[in-house]
């Protein structure tokens, strides 16, 4: 088991969770009712895919971020 603190970027609210091996980013977001959010270890790290197991990618006690989905350009620009 690992303990994590999920910081909701928009509000700064911290949600403390405990995860087991095999827990995916989607599991965490679903459990926290953050359906329109993405998880990452920070602004300079890529987002975790919803189906990605995060257990091995985070350290016990680590702080990770939940931010709403946003994309620069794409449909209009790129």
């Amino acid at each position: 088991m690992k303990k994590l603190s999920v910081v909701v970027a928009g509000t700064g609210q911290i949600r403390d969770i405990e995860i087991q091996p095999g827990t995916t980013a989607g599991d965490v977001l679903h459990q926290l009712n953050l359906s329109d959010y993405l998880l990452s270890k920070g602004p300079n790290e890529p987002f975790f895919a919803a189906t990605e197991s995060i257990y091995d990618k985070v350290k016990d006690g680590e702080k990770i971020f939940a931010s709403t989905k946003a994309e620069v350009g794409l449909t209009v620009c790129a």
Binding site: S5, V7, A9, G10, T11, G12, Q13, I14, D36, S40, P43, N44, P46, F65, S67, T68, K69, A70, E71, V72, G73, L74, T75, V76, C77, A78
Partner: protein, 131 residues
């Protein structure tokens, strides 16, 4: 007789301190309250009404920016004088020049809050410097 009593002598001060500490036990832990503030505030952005001013920060570089939260809920993100690296990014066409070296960053998928938009732009800047 194999053991010969040579008497006693005072223990060194350092050893006494260790024993004293053990006898006293740990002081009660002081819970430190965590600051629960939005990302924009934690990263030094200042808010005045619906306008935010600060900088997009990455391990490589920081850029001055400002953000306008419109009444409709839309949020416009501006960045000052984007570098050559950003101009070489595949999304450079999404930066619309608004005069005086200020650029509006067009979001195809708009973030629901200011903090998420800042994180998105910081991630794009990081990508531009990593590629």
């Amino acid at each position: 007789m194999r053991v010969k009593d040579l008497g006693t002598r005072p223990a060194p001060a350092s050893l006494l301190q260790v024993f004293e500490r053990m006898m006293r036990g740990h002081a009660p832990a002081i819970p430190i309250e965590r600051r629960q503030i939005p990302y924009w505030q934690e990263h030094g952005w200042k808010r005045s009404g619906n306008i935010y001013e600060g900088s997009y920060q990455t391990p490589y570089v920081a850029f001055q920016g400002w953000i306008e939260q419109q009444r409709s809920g839309y949020v416009d993100f501006y960045i000052y004088n984007p570098s050559r690296e950003i101009r070489g990014h595949s999304h450079w066409t999404c930066f619309q020049h608004r005069g005086n070296e200020w650029y509006l960053v067009h979001m195809a998928r708009k973030p629901k809050d200011v903090s998420s938009g800042i994180i998105t732009i910081e991630r794009l800047i990081t990508e531009a410097y990593q590629s």
